[in-house]
Symmetry: C2
Subunit: 327 residues, 2 copies
C-alpha cells in the first residue's frame, strides 16, 4: 500500500475524530463494503477510544423502538450530550419504503450536528452483526459522541446478542399480556438492564410493568448484582424521563461496581471471536469456495457426512482438531 493511500486513511480518521459526519459515514460504509483499507483505519481509530456510553435498544416488533430512539435523542440533546445512533436494519429488497417511513421521525434531528444517525444492513455479511456493529460503535465513540445508541429491529438471536453487548441494554415492551410472553419467548427479558413499558397511556401498562417485576423476582441474582429497573414511558409524547434516569443509574452502577469493565472485556472477546470467524468464513466462501462446493456435492450424494466434510475442510485450512464437538 502506497504512502498516498496511507495518508488518505489517516486523514479520514482525523476527520472522524473531529466528529465530521461525512467522514464517519464513509468509514461506516467501509465496514459494510468490506473495504481493504478498513483494518488500517480501525487500527488508527483504536488510538481514539472515546468515552461513549454504549446503549443497546431492543424489543419485539411494533413496540415503538424508533419512536423511543427519537425521544431519547431529544432528551439527551436537551442536556447537551452528543448522540450517535446505529439502527441495525435487516435489509430486505421489499422493505425500502417501510423502513424509510420509520426513519422519517428521525428527520427531527436531521439538521442537528450533535446527532449522527445511520442504518446498517445486517444481511449478507458473513459473521453478521456481531462482527460489524462493534466496529461502527468504535467509530462513533472515536467521533466524540457521549452516547452511542444501537437499535436492533427484530427479536432474533443475533439481534438480541448485539443489543446485549452494549454497556447498558434497554428492552422495550408494550402494554398487554401477549407482549410480555412474546418477549420472554424471544429471550430478551434477561438481557435488559432497564425494561421499559412504552405506550404507557394505553390500558394495561401498569399491569404489564407489575408482571415484569414479578418475573424479575423469580430470577436469581447475587446481592452485588444489578437488579433490572422496570419503567414506563410514552415515547410518542416525549415522556421518557424514567428511561433516561434508569439508563443513567445503570451506567453509574456499572462504573462503580466494576461490572462495566467486565462487560467491556467480554465484549472485546466477542468482537475478536466474531471477527476471526468472519474472516475465516469469508475465506471459505471465496478462495475455498470450490473446495467447499465439492464437499457439499459429496454430502448431498450421501457419500460423506457433514462432520467428516468438516474434518477435511479444517485439515485443508490447517486448523488442528482439538477433540471438541460443537454444541
Amino acid at each position: 500500500m502506497g504512502s498516498a493511500a496511507m495518508g488518505d486513511v489517516a486523514d479520514l480518521v482525523a476527520r472522524v475524530a473531529a466528529g465530521e459526519p461525512r467522514a464517519i459515514g464513509r468509514l461506516i460504509s467501509w465496514i459494510e463494503d468490506g473495504s481493504a483499507q478498513l483494518p488500517e483505519a480501525m487500527g488508527l481509530i483504536a488510538a481514539q477510544p472515546g468515552r461513549a456510553h454504549v446503549i443497546g435498544v431492543t424489543g419485539p416488533p411494533g413496540v415503538g423502538k424508533s419512536t423511543m430512539t427519537s425521544a431519547l435523542v431529544a432528551a439527551w440533546r436537551a442536556r447537551g450530550d452528543r448522540v450517535g445512533v446505529i439502527a441495525v436494519d435487516p435489509s430486505s429488497p421489499f422493505s425500502g419504503g417501510a423502513l424509510l417511513g420509520d426513519r422519517i421521525r428521525m428527520h427531527d434531528h436531521a439538521t442537528d450536528s450533535g446527532v449522527f444517525i445511520r442504518s446498517m444492513a445486517s444481511r449478507g455479511h458473513l459473521g453478521g452483526l456481531a462482527a460489524t456493529t462493534p466496529q461502527a460503535v468504535r467509530i462513533l465513540a472515536a467521533g466524540g459522541f457521549d452516547i452511542v445508541l444501537v437499535e436492533t429491529v427484530g427479536v432474533g438471536q443475533s439481534e438480541v446478542e448485539v443489543a446485549a453487548s452494549a454497556d447498558t441494554t434497554l428492552v422495550l415492551m408494550a402494554p398487554g399480556m401477549g407482549d410480555g410472553i412474546q418477549a420472554a419467548k424471544a429471550g430478551i427479558l434477561e438481557v435488559g438492564d432497564v425494561l421499559c413499558v412504552n405506550k404507557a397511556d394505553r390500558d394495561g401498562a401498569q399491569t404489564t410493568a407489575r408482571e415484569l417485576r414479578q418475573m424479575l423476582d423469580l430470577s436469581e441474582r447475587g446481592p452485588a448484582q444489578w437488579r433490572p429497573l422496570v419503567v414506563t414511558a410514552v415515547a410518542s409524547r416525549g415522556e421518557v424521563d424514567e428511561v433516561v434516569a434508569g439508563l443513567d443509574a445503570h451506567r453509574e452502577f456499572a462504573s462503580a461496581s466494576g461490572a462495566g469493565q467486565e462487560r467491556r472485556h467480554r465484549r472485546a472477546i466477542e468482537e475478536i471471536t466474531a471477527l476471526t470467524l468472519a474472516q475465516i468464513g469469508r475465506r471459505l466462501s471465496t478462495t475455498e469456495a470450490s473446495f467447499v462446493s465439492e464437499l457439499a456435492d459429496q454430502v448431498v450424494a450421501a457419500e460423506l457426512d457433514p462432520f467428516a466434510a468438516t474434518d477435511r475442510l479444517r485439515a485443508h485450512l490447517g486448523v488442528d482438531q482439538d477433540g471438541a464437538v460443537p454444541g
Copy 2:
C-alpha cells in the same frame, strides 16, 4: 473409543432409523449437549438420508406459528404422512412457562406414533442454529418421517436463515397493514415460497393478501423461477387446505425444475461452513480462551485494535491470511 461404545452408537442409530422416538430424542440431545459421540452417530446417520420434505415455518411473533404447525400436522396425518417437528426455541430462563403454554396445543398429537415433536434451544450454542438445526433435520429424515417441519420463533437473522434453508419455506402473516410492514422489515417476505395470511376470519385478511401479491409483483424473477404463492388460512379451526396445497405445489416445482437439488447443495455448503466455524469458535472459547482473553485485555486498554488482535489470533491458530476483509 472402545468397540462397546461403537456398538452402542450403531445400536442407537439403528433404533433411530426404525423411527423409535426415544432414540431420536436421545440423539437430538447429543446435538444440544455437544456429545463427543455425535460425529460418529452423524456419520452413520448420513448413510440413511431418508426422503423427507423439509419445510421451514417462520413469521413475526403472534401470527400463530404453533397453531399452524399443529393444524398442518393434523392435515398431513389425515393423509397418512409421518411428521417430525423441530421447534427452535430461544431458551430464556424466564420463558419456561410461556413456551410450555404454547406447546400444549401439540399435546393433541402426543399419543400419535406418526408424529415426533421436539423443541431445541437456540442460545448458548456457538455456531448457533445454522450448525445445530440441520443435524436434527437429518436425524428425523433418517427416522423415516415423510415431512420434517422446522418452526422458528422470532424474526431474527439467524432464525429466518434457518427457516429459509428448508426445501420449502412457509412465511406466516396476520391480517393488518402493520404485520406486512413488520414482516418486510424483518426481511422474511423474500424467503417465503408460500406466504400465508393466517387468522383469515378477521377483518383485513383479503387486503393483506392483496398487498402481499402487489409486493411480489414488484420483485424481479425469471420466467423459470418459482412465483411465491399467497394463501389464506384459519389454523385455529384447522382450515389449512390452501397451505397444504401450496407446500405440495412448491415441492413438485422444486423437484421437476432442479431447484430442489440446487437448494440441497446450497444447504450442504451452509451446513459445512457453519459446522466448521462452530468447531473453530468452540476451540477459541475453550483451549484458546486465555489467549483470547489476553488479546481482549489489550483491546480494552486500547493497546491493540480488534483487527490486529484477529491477525494474531489467526496466526496462533495457523490459518493463513488471504487478504480478504470481512464485510
